[in-house]
């Protein structure tokens, strides 16, 4: 394969090339590392690159492949979001708090993908502690969108999204608490799946909001996402919230027709918050699904507008509890010369956390504090149930819900950093899905003035298979997912 073909090839195609011996895992890994070396100085999508270790892993993969051993993912490179603990490799959450943190263990997602034979190229940039929608709050500086380097890649998994789009790697991991896989996938023109809450173990993923966080695959196609999800999924005794539910073969029925499938269109997702030209792209995508034989039906999600306020109580409340562990004592940043224990706590936290993280800790602490708990946290948990019931009602008349993944295309760097509320609106179509614990996927649906638009599909709990099937059929029918940005090193 030529370097150009490599940067657009899917894991399925690369696996076939490795098995046909037209390329070795070492050659593939070297090609990926070369792309990273060339493009990363501009994009800043990867914040740790494990070159030597990757070549060692690839050499071991080649030994397996020569013997005809290993699985489909043996020898396929990938990048992990820097929120997944990786044994002996820095895991920072893009925060000064964890700048020097080297985990003594692997996250379950990391160990499962490692056991499947993937090659870890390194770790990707993100919004600090996954709190953001633009990858601008990273202590390592912002990531740029490969389609236009003056725009954000979305967030918080913006590093992985930019890396997959720019050809650093065919596969990457992300986490999604309110849209952090789907919104950057949309803005960078890749495929990003947030699985059902409980499908993928959270062990070793640095916690943000424990009742919302899920890890998922970020890839070039739905087929590759199915391949990765297969490995990532399943019960983990180490995560008491991981679901004890059968994991189907996600690739088995990918190609099955979707004729007769009912796709629900929520009118609330096509309101004035949606950029009209994005709405037109999504409508065009829906027509393609109709031509595949799916039936479009109107549905209502009446509590859509309450999604943002509900989320911005529950997520900060859970974050304020989770982030209380950063006290400067057992791990993480410690301030210089603390005068007493309280000074140690306060200055370590104040100096170690960035502005957005501190803002959310304050809001969460307030919502949980004496006298406000019922009015804020309990109220939000009640509305959360209403939002969840809206989806249950909708799924009585449809099999999948479709709409936009984000209200617009990628926006300019720095344009929303001064207004937290404007940034929060980026997740208006994604965060209800986390509140209800459902699976959602964003797939490329075309370009607007050269910038990608994402179609979001939402499924019933634990029915990722149907989502992947619809996404795959869409990708067989259209070529939006094949579009790639011009390398920034060629055309800055």
């Amino acid at each position: 394969m030529s370097p150009n073909e490599l940067s657009t090839a899917t894991a399925v195609e690369l696996a076939a090339a490795l098995r046909a011996k037209t390329m070795s895992a070492v050659e593939l890994t070297q090609a990926c590392l070369a792309t990273i070396a060339r493009e990363n100085p501009v994009l800043n999508a990867a914040i740790t690159v494990c070159g030597e270790q990757a070549i060692e892993e690839a050499t071991a993969a080649d030994t397996l492949l020569r013997r005809g051993d290993g699985g489909t993912l043996t020898g396929i490179p990938l990048l992990h979001k820097d929120i997944f603990c990786t044994r002996d490799v820095a895991t920072t959450c893009a925060s000064r708090m964890l700048e020097n943190f080297i985990p003594p263990y692997d996250a379950t997602v990391v160990s499962r993908l490692r056991a499947a034979g993937t090659i870890m190229l390194g770790k990707t940039n993100m919004d600090e502690f996954a709190m953001g929608s633009s990858t601008e709050t990273s202590v390592f500086g912002e990531t740029r969108n490969p389609w236009n380097i003056h725009c954000v890649p979305g967030g918080s998994s913006g590093g992985t999204a930019a890396a997959v789009a720019a050809g650093f790697t065919p596969l990457g991991t992300g986490t999604d608490t309110g849209g952090s896989i789907r919104q950057p996938a949309s803005l960078c023109g890749i495929t990003g799946l947030k699985p059902t809450y409980g499908r993928v173990s959270r062990l070793g993923i640095i916690a943000f909001a424990s009742s919302l966080d899920q890890a998922g695959p970020m890839t070039r196609t739905a087929e590759d996402a199915a391949l990765m999800l297969q490995v990532m999924s399943g019960l983990d005794p180490g995560d008491s919230t991981s679901a004890d539910i059968e994991v189907p073969d996600f690739r088995a029925n990918l190609g099955d027709p979707i004729s007769g499938l009912k796709i629900g269109i929520p009118k609330e997702y096509f309101s004035s918050s949606l950029e009209p030209r994005v709405a037109a792209s999504i409508q065009a995508a829906l027509v393609e699904l109709e031509r595949e034989g799916a039936e479009l039906v109107d549905i209502d999600l009446p509590h859509t507008d309450q999604g943002i306020p509900t989320y911005y109580i529950i997520a900060p409340a859970e974050a304020s509890a989770n982030l209380s562990r950063y006290d400067g004592v057992r791990f993480g940043y410690r301030c210089e010369a603390p005068t007493d224990l309280n000074d140690l706590y306060e200055r370590s936290r104040t100096e170690g956390f960035g502005e957005e993280v501190k803002r959310r800790i304050l809001v969460g602490t307030y919502a949980l504090s004496t006298g406000f708990y019922d009015a804020y946290f309990k109220k939000a948990q009640q509305v959360r149930r209403l939002i969840s019931e809206d989806f249950n009602t909708a799924f009585e008349t449809c099999d999948v819900i479709a709409g936009p993944a984000a209200p617009g295309v990628a926006f300019g760097l720095g344009t929303k950093t001064t207004d937290p509320l404007a940034m929060y609106l980026e997740d208006i179509y994604t965060l209800s899905v986390n509140l209800a614990g459902l699976p959602g996927i964003s797939v490329p649906a075309g370009l607007l003035d050269g910038m990608p638009v994402g179609l979001q599909l939402i499924g019933r709990a634990f029915d990722e298979a149907t989502l992947l099937r619809v996404a795959h059929r869409f990708q067989l029918r259209t070529d939006h997912h094949l579009a790639r940005p011009v390398p920034t090193a060629v055309n800055p």
Binding site: F101, I102, P103, P104, Y197, G198, S211, P237, S240, T241, H303, Q306, P309, T310, Y312, I313, S320, S324, D327, G328, V329, R330, F331, G332, R334, P338, T339, D340, L341, N342, D343, Y345, E346, R349, T350, K358, R359, L362, V363, T365, Y366, A367, S369, A375, K378, K379, A380, Q381, Q382, V383, R384, R385, L386, S388, P420, L421, N434, A436, G437, A461
Partner: protein
């Protein structure tokens, strides 16, 4: 509902965060706007609605009360800012 700098300072103290005097007005203004945003929920009728803390109303599994891990004190303390003889060091608490 308007939020005062004093409210913000008392929440910050609960959260063990310090807010610089110079930033206090800005922090208060943004904090207040977020509270205004979430205040929209007060209009929703939630009479009799059971709060939802887990999206699938699942309860956490219990595990057998058995030893499953070896002590890994040294490995775990390697990431600590300051340790001595297996203890985490902090500033003197009792004089």
């Amino acid at each position: 509902m308007s939020t005062t700098p004093a409210d913000v300072l008392s929440v910050a103290q609960l959260a063990r965060l310090r807010i610089e005097e110079a930033a206090l007005d800005d922090v208060t203004e943004r904090f207040g706007r977020i509270l205004d945003l979430v205040a929209q929920l007060q209009q929703v009728d939630t009479e009799g609605v059971e709060p939802m803390s887990n999206p699938h109303d699942m309860v956490q599994r219990l595990r057998a009360d058995a030893v499953t891990e070896d002590a890994q004190r040294d490995a775990l303390q390697r990431v600590a800012p300051s340790v001595e003889d297996g203890f985490f060091l902090v500033p003197r608490v009792i004089d």
